[in-house]
Amino acid sequence: MEAVNGRFGIHGGQYIPETLMNAVKELENAYNHYKNDPQFNAELTELLNEYANRPSRLYYAKKMSEDLGGAKIYLKREDLNHTGAHKINNVLGQALLAKKMGKTRLIAETGAGQHGVATATAAALMGMECVVFMGEEDTKRQALNVYRMRLLGAEVIPVTSGTATLKDAVSEAMREWTNRIDDTHYCLGSVMGPHPFPTIVRDFQAVISKEIKEQIMEKEGRLPDAVIACVGGGSNAIGTFYNFIEDEGVRLIGCEAAGRGIDTYETAATVNTGTVGIFHGMKSYFCQNEYGQIAPVYSISAGLDYPGVGPEHAYLHDIGRAEYVPVTDDEAVKAFEYLSRTEGIIPAIESSHAIAYAMKLAPQMDSEQIIVVTVSGRGDKDCAAIARYRGEDIYA
């Protein structure tokens, strides 16, 4: 669906300081111009294909499908993209757009570090300055990605305010943008924030479902019965869903990080436990208390450890088009290990939430049915943390 005045149903909008309003208007105008510009699109396609390794594979996970004994499972291998996750799709689009707008500096927030790494990568490639804000807690959980960003020439600023996680990194990136607008583009990493970001990021990630559709038609001659992706802010999920929204026979399933369970306070499952609110530039669902104070959420996954969800997901939930299911830390870790052993693919702990739900769903379906699961990123970055979860210190 297209946002009307930046709204998806009641969600979305532009709840930001007046200081930033002309900047988001400028961005919206530039995007509306370049999205229909053949040269811009040719340059972006070239970058996606030659640099980022698109199209990504749609891999039939035969062993996993047979082991689970139900639906045929295909994996959309975004983990094979350059930099190891779907984040690069959006970043190349936004960096190219920023460059066309005459910006010379990219700032970004990052949770797990994948968006930060992708932004640092694009900045290096395009000769732009780059500053990444990352919660101090996350710089510890994802030390490898901090080093990668620095290696790529970016400055990484650890954020100590609030819960020192993704939410605070977004707040700090927004503050920095109000401080320096002229030469700076805020390269937001998910389908969230003020309009036009949810639309821009979705459009750049929609390549995922565009490819899935072509690839599954070629392999199976029909559409899948369900597509599954993990949801934090929701960028790989909206990318996975977008070209199937009109195909009502395709179930759209988003997997939220339930942390220690949706009946505990240690959860980040926004659609399952949150209420409508206004934060980080948008109206959407948020984990918050009765007075609107944003909750300190929790997930083992730094990339899903966010108290909100993109406005288009909130809308897809409201109209019942997409389902949002909770997946706990424990289920995700088991799926992380399962896919590694069964298919020889180590998924990101974020993506493992989607794998975990596919493991539950597939056995309930018959062998004629098809599930596509997006493996949004690779899991190398998570090995130390998962080992720790299992009581092992691999650096000891």
Binding site: Y15, E18, T19, M21, N22, S171, N179, I278, Y291, G292
Partner: protein, 256 residues
């Protein structure tokens, strides 16, 4: 609402101090408000704490955390204002974030404001394009929804100014709240452009801490707003802050 226009009519150049409610506790906030009023504050900005104040610099962010760690709620702040209104007649405006108002229920929030004697509401994350949802209710209850204008507003100034009520909060600089040694923006031309569109007065905020800065900003507008410098004082003196804040307000007002 009435008290805001009276303040500008009476003082010509107003002084608007800010305090985060519940930092370090509500009794201290009450004493601070009384000291501010007694020492010449024309309008007082009362911050309702929010967990993630994205327009604030570190000083006010920390005040929000201190207040929330005391479990201060929106209802506690409303009750405090109701009590203050027994003896304080200065104009009072709330400064908070959209989600605090939205989660309380916009109509419930604004009607309670009117009941306890709050004259205006400032929401830094609600720009012109999103204000209808809040402003319509504010108008119904005769509470002024305060508009903001920034150095980057440019061609937006006209439409914002034409619909402004109470006063216009002119943001002096880019970035978030916090003291600045120098304020570089061309604020006079922002104010001039506002005046082409409306008679609603302008008060300048962000970055002001010294009497000289306040006098300079009030000189080119209708008043000055000071937040972080006062909040820093409260962080330093804690429960003993009211007298210090009173003396500071007096010195700022005397510099005009």
């Amino acid at each position: 609402m009435r008290r805001i226009s009276e303040a500008f009519n009476r003082s010509k150049k107003v002084f608007i101090p800010f305090v985060t409610c519940g930092d370090p506790d509500l009794d201290t906030t009450k004493a601070i408000v009384r000291e501010m009023a007694a020492n010449g504050a024309d309008i007082i900005e009362l911050g309702i704490p929010f967990s993630d104040p994205t327009a604030e610099g570190p000083v006010i962010q920390e005040a929000n955390i201190r207040a929330l760690s005391n479990n201060i709620t929106t209802d506690d702040v409303m009750d405090m204002v109701a009590e203050l209104r027994n003896d304080v007649d200065v104009a009072l405006v709330f400064m908070t974030y959209a989600n605090v108002v939205f989660s309380y229920g916009i109509e419930r929030f604004v009607s309670r404001c009117a009941e306890i004697g709050i004259d205006g509401i400032i929401l830094p994350d609600v720009p012109f394009e999103e204000k209808r949802e809040f402003d319509d209710v504010c108008q119904k209850y005769q509470v002024d929804f305060i508009s903001m204008i920034a150095p980057t507003s440019e061609d937006r100034i006209d439409m914002i100014a034409r619909e402004a009520r109470g006063f216009i909060y002119v943001v002096s600089s880019l970035g978030v709240t916090g003291e600045r040694s120098q304020i570089n923006g061309d604020i006079a031309s922002l104010v001039d452009r506002v005046r082409l569109n409306t008679d609603v007065p302008c008060a300048v905020g962000f970055g002001i801490s010294t009497p000289a800065q306040a006098a300079q900003m009030a000189g080119i507008s209708d008043g000055a707003i000071v937040g972080s410098a006062i909040v820093r004082m409260i962080a330093k003196y804690g429960k003993n802050a009211p007298a210090e804040v009173g003396r500071y307000v007096k010195s700022m007002k005397e510099a005009y």
